[in-house]
Symmetry: C2
Subunit: 347 residues, 2 copies
Amino acid sequence: MSRSIRLAVIPGDGIGQEVVAEGLKVLGAALPSGTKVETTEYDLGARRWHATGETLPDSVLEELKGHDAILLGAVGDPSVPSGVLERGLLLKLRFAFDHHVNLRPGKLFPGVKSPLAGEPQIDFVVVREGTEGPYVGNGGTLRAGTPHEVATEVSLNTAFGIERVVRDAYRRAAARPRKKLTLVHKNNVLVHAGHLWSSIFARVGQEFPEVTTDYLHVDAATIFFVTQPERFDVIVTDNLFGDILTDLAAAVTGGIGLAASGNINPSGDFPSMFEPVHGSAPDIAGQGKADPTATVLSVAMLLEHLGLAEEAARIEAAVAADLAERIDGPVRSTSQIGDALAARVAG
Amino acid sequence: MSRSIRLAVIPGDGIGQEVVAEGLKVLGAALPSGTKVETTEYDLGARRWHATGETLPDSVLEELKGHDAILLGAVGDPSVPSGVLERGLLLKLRFAFDHHVNLRPGKLFPGVKSPLAGEPQIDFVVVREGTEGPYVGNGGTLRAGTPHEVATEVSLNTAFGIERVVRDAYRRAAARPRKKLTLVHKNNVLVHAGHLWSSIFARVGQEFPEVTTDYLHVDAATIFFVTQPERFDVIVTDNLFGDILTDLAAAVTGGIGLAASGNINPSGDFPSMFEPVHGSAPDIAGQGKADPTATVLSVAMLLEHLGLAEEAARIEAAVAADLAERIDGPVRSTSQIGDALAARVAG
Ligand SMILES: CC(C)[C@H](C(=O)O)[C@@H](O)C(=O)O
Ligand SMILES: CC(C)[C@H](C(=O)O)[C@@H](O)C(=O)O
């Protein structure tokens, strides 16, 4: 049997190029015989915007639809006004392809140094809603540039959008040994959105009597991330709170060099997109200093999403083994880490 | 010369009662001779709401205006629907009295154990905007209880509101040895509000050439809170981001048992309000287990605000000395800690 994965690759800006190259290297090493990858690379990001003013042309969006998945490096550059590429490219993709399950594991691998004291046990996954909340781009400005300027940002939350991501999170919790799901919101202040989240969370929970549930305000959740991270198993939360919590999760599990993510459309109507949580890090770009591990772990999530769970597990195991040896090892370049991971996966 | 401070006291719910008693004890010990405190206690919170359905009657709001300051313990109880007391009492006070400078120091006192590894140096202050942003209560619900329900939350941001808090933060930064101010927002996603904050931040900065400035997205800021907290001096941020960051700040500086706050109206048109960052902690209420230190430090902020800087410094020094000895000391009750602090302040 032969199978071919049509993969769209968007290296993006800064270290995006470098880490994606290593991700593809490891992907190649992981594939079962008889499975091929056909990659199409898309030149999107700061360079294209400077050259053409385009962030994501409709024609490219159309072409991307013909792929099984997207691998993205990082997007953004100080030379581009803040928001242009984020809203015009990254978020446009998440919204256009209805990536409502933004999946972000927070796992401290053995041997990895956490900034937290002691030896915390951290192994949770954040299910961040990806298509609603304060991210909808529904804001505006009145009397711009005057002393009377007013700017708004509207958080939009729908029963439809919340229910599907909450159910997805319950399913994931039910499939894990600890079967615990924590809702994070701020329902004592954002009472309308918060009430909608809480009531749907309670109702859908009736379908999953085996799952233990918990609720935390987002401010309290950040406390537990640093004082008691082991209390978390699966977390479901709003788009903005998820953004904040997953950077904090990355920090306590050894840094954003290791944090992977999947922007998933579980229906399969559109391709899902996998990307490291980190940004384009222009300060270290082009120097071979970037850690490609987050991208490699994102590739594992991509394979898992495409039904290649065994291959995904092999990559995770290779990463775990590599990380366990890093502490005493020499500093390696981006491609040396990629080579080492590919070799472990292949062999 | 004799002076009298008219102090309104709102112990509130749970441990609020217990910690406020100790705060007043230390306040009494700190006052210079010739200065008296006249306290008026207001019974507000869960009990009153259950008994009368009132959160903050207009008559009480009127009476509170006649005071020089307010000391608040904590508000909230699981028996009251989420949001009722928060919006109807705590936030109502902050908004009615235009507490636009929500001041929250993040300081790791010598001898206090941080959940962070190593011995981080943490000494910053967060200036959280207190009267705008997503806290304005400008949200709504459409088609409630149906599968088509939509809930909104509107973040309102005005040039007027941002400029005054940004200028306040610059002044504080200019008065500190390191003279550094970091703006935290999410201007790559919340582009309208973010742009307003960033442009005002840049413009007001021209009045303070001696202050070094920096900008961080809120998600990145949480990373630095745990990996590099020493990089912060003064932080200015939006109401919601400030809420999240200050709980995290409390966590990394030894816990919310130590985190003080002031809800300040610098104009003096209305009384400012001082309160510990922690909540009512119903699980430990009534057992003498609560740490009153955050309230005592809030009392110090209160005195500083009323121009009694020396007395405030004496309380801070007493807390520092007490904390330095705690590690090896026995577990003490709420009132034992209060007694010890009062004794140090007095003597
Ligand atoms: C770059 C930015 C738009 C993005 C977000 O806020 O979602 C990033 O922080 C992330 O978490 O993927
Ligand atoms: C209780 C709640 C309304 C409040 C807030 O969100 O401001 C609290 O978390 C705080 O930080 O003082």
